[in-house]
């Protein structure tokens, strides 16, 4: 990671230039040579961005995935779907605002949509627990997914959560059971299921709605068994070594494509979806529609068998003594 110091400088410079650009635009027509100066700044910003994002570090990707302006479920609901009707409640205990469930149309076709519901601002995030569901969230998801099955509707799930909510009440009401049951529901759903990891794929809390015939992952999304900070704290008793941990965990879309965990990486605008949400949504819509069409074409029994086999193959191990920890890839 010899380029790391450069990167830091580049990042700081990029930030300064972006601020200058904003100031200049705000100042407006009084500034002499406005257009020329704007043009120069824009070019410099673009060059820096390209340099920084040609081969982003895993930690850069983590930051993009967690970027406060990164498009959330609400943005994708608006941009990808029409005719959205939210369905509330698990029919057992409550309605979890951290989990969205509903009916909608994708490319004109009726589907069931399930996704982690992060908020746009702090107030909404407090209400939605930053997209960290309680058991009733996962049970609502399972309830609505069973409805998809009953009606023969395909399901689309959008994954973006730091984790399942770690709370006393969540444990009391069986967070583990709710996650396991949701995974089982998806594993056995006769309907086609396409998953898109759009932001943070936080461990079991993400996987609970992340099992499908196809799993797509946006270019700067992450998917990890543990947050890099937690990993660093265990490994080196030093949460500050999160950047190293982010590298070690292989949590980027490219890593997971190579490990066979995701089926396709959905491109994003350079530097992250938040820089051009509309284009990011177009890329995602195209991929979702294409994969849904493919898996819908399969007979249900074959689709279920393929889904089973897909997860059945995941993992790497050896049966030969001499390979013991011979190293992966």
């Amino acid at each position: 990671m010899t380029t790391a110091p450069d990167r830091g400088e580049q990042e700081r410079e990029l930030q300064q230039l972006e601020e200058q650009l904003a100031q200049l635009q705000a100042a407006g027509s009084d500034v002499p040579d406005l257009e020329t100066r704007l043009q120069a700044l824009r070019e410099r910003v673009q060059a820096l961005r390209e340099a920084l994002w040609r081969q982003p570090t895993p930690w850069q990707v983590v930051q993009a995935a967690r970027h406060p302006q990164r498009p959330k479920l609400g943005d994708y609901l608006q941009r990808l779907f029409t005719d959205v009707v939210e369905l509330h409640g698990d029919r057992l205990f409550g309605d979890d605002p951290a989990m969205f469930c509903g009916l909608a149309r994708l490319d004109g076709q009726a589907v069931v949509v399930v996704g982690h519901h992060k908020g746009k601002d702090t107030r909404e995030n407090v209400h939605r627990r930053w997209g960290m569901p309680n058991p009733e969230g996962y049970r609502k998801a399972a309830r609505v997914l069973r409805l998809a099955d009953k009606l023969g509707l395909p399901a689309v799930t959008l994954v973006d959560t730091p984790a399942a909510y770690p709370g006393v009440e969540a444990e009391e009401r069986g967070q583990a059971e709710a996650i396991a049951r949701s995974i089982l529901t998806l594993a056995q759903l006769r309907s086609p299921v396409v998953v898109a990891i759009t932001g943070e794929g936080g461990s079991g809390g993400a996987l609970a709605i992340g099992v499908g015939d196809r799993v797509l992952m946006m270019q700067y999304a992450i998917y990890s068994v543990i947050p890099p900070e937690g990993c660093a704290a265990i490994l080196w008793r030093d949460a500050a070594r999160k950047e190293e941990a982010a590298s070690a965990l292989k949590l980027t879309a490219q890593d997971l494509l190579e490990l066979g965990v995701v089926d396709e990486v959905v491109p994003e605008p350079l530097g992250g979806a938040h820089l051009d949400p509309e284009r990011a949504a177009q890329f995602l819509r195209e991929a979702l529609v294409r994969h849904l069409r493919e898996v819908q074409a399969l007979p249900p029994e074959e689709r279920l068998q393929r889904r089973y086999d897909k997860y059945r193959r995941m993992g790497r191990f050896t049966a030969h003594p001499e390979d013991l920890l011979a190293g992966g890839r």
Binding site: A163, P166, Q188, G201, G315, A319, G328
Partner: protein, 285 residues
């Protein structure tokens, strides 16, 4: 999973669990117990009833009729798929210390005469964590049980998914759950025994999908780690939080069984559920 911050606590308890010498100090009541007496008492403290942790092989000896166990897939081992820092060393150390290649023992055997497929997690091997090998062996256990028309008994003791295999560990949740689903569809019984501790990704997958959940007294069972929850709620956790008794009250565990009665209870359950030669009327289409 998220309960990493509790790991050091486990390990220190673990060390106290297997004290050297003739006498053992009980980690709950603090009293000294003659080691041989503790062994005779199935590692349950005769003074306070504390259930000391059992290794995988100890658990197997406790539950499976002598001479009936046929192990499956003992040769499977990790390949350190991510080239993760320190993993190779830790793994080799675990292999040396336990004489086994992974954190789960699977196979078929008889429980008071009732034939069953069995998977026993070994907390002594990297905290019973589930990576590719554990997931694979557990999934194969459920698949073979379907082929052989056997019931399944799992004994869980795990800190969760194995961090060092990254998302591949997380995928073992999906893999094992899908395999459990096939057993359920086949109408075969699954008894999940929850031992101290069962947390994280193992709880959030096969261990919580049993037809019947049996827990050992006092066992720690939960999803998120205590530290993480305390940090979130900024309060001390209630007394007895995430114990077997807590889960029983919360409707997540069917019964708590002391170790001395575990084997006979499992046998009775399996027979009632149609295993062991008693043929239930199969009324599925």
């Amino acid at each position: 999973m998220l309960n990493w911050l509790r790991r050091p606590k486990y390990e220190s308890v673990e060390r106290r669990d297997i004290p050297a010498g003739l006498w053992a100090k009980c980690p709950r009541c603090g009293q000294l117990v003659y080691r041989k007496e503790l062994e005779r008492n199935l590692k349950v403290c005769p003074k306070c009833g504390y259930h000391h942790r059992l290794s995988g092989p100890e658990r197997l000896r406790l539950l499976v009729d002598e001479g009936t166990f046929e192990e499956w897939d003992a040769e499977l081992a990790s390949v350190d798929p991510l080239g993760f820092p320190e993993y190779a060393d830790r793994y080799r150390h675990a292999v040396q210390r336990t004489g086994r290649r992974e954190a789960v023992l699977t196979g078929r055997g008889r429980i008071e005469g009732v034939e069953a497929a069995v998977a026993v997690l070994d907390f002594a091997f990297l905290g019973g964590s589930m990576g590719s090998v554990v997931g694979e062996k557990v999934a194969r256990t459920f698949e073979r049980a379907v082929e052989l028309r056997l019931p399944v008994v799992t004994c869980s003791a795990s800190g969760g998914a194995r961090m060092q295999e990254g998302v591949l560990s997380l995928m073992q949740l999906a893999k094992t759950v899908a395999a459990v689903g096939r057993l359920h569809t086949a109408g075969l019984p699954f008894v999940s025994v929850l031992c101290d501790p069962t947390t994280g990704g193992v709880t959030a997958s096969f261990a919580m999908l049993g037809d019947v959940h049996v827990a050992e007294p006092g066992a720690l069972i939960g999803f998120a780690g205590a530290r993480v929850i305390e940090q979130t709620i900024r309060q001390k956790l209630p007394e007895g939080f995430q114990t077997a008794e807590f889960l029983l009250r919360r409707g997540l565990v069917d019964l708590i069984v002391p170790r001395s009665e575990l084997k006979s209870t499992l046998a009775r359950l399996l027979r009632l559920m149609g295993a062991g030669g008693e043929v239930a009327v199969d009324h599925r289409a």
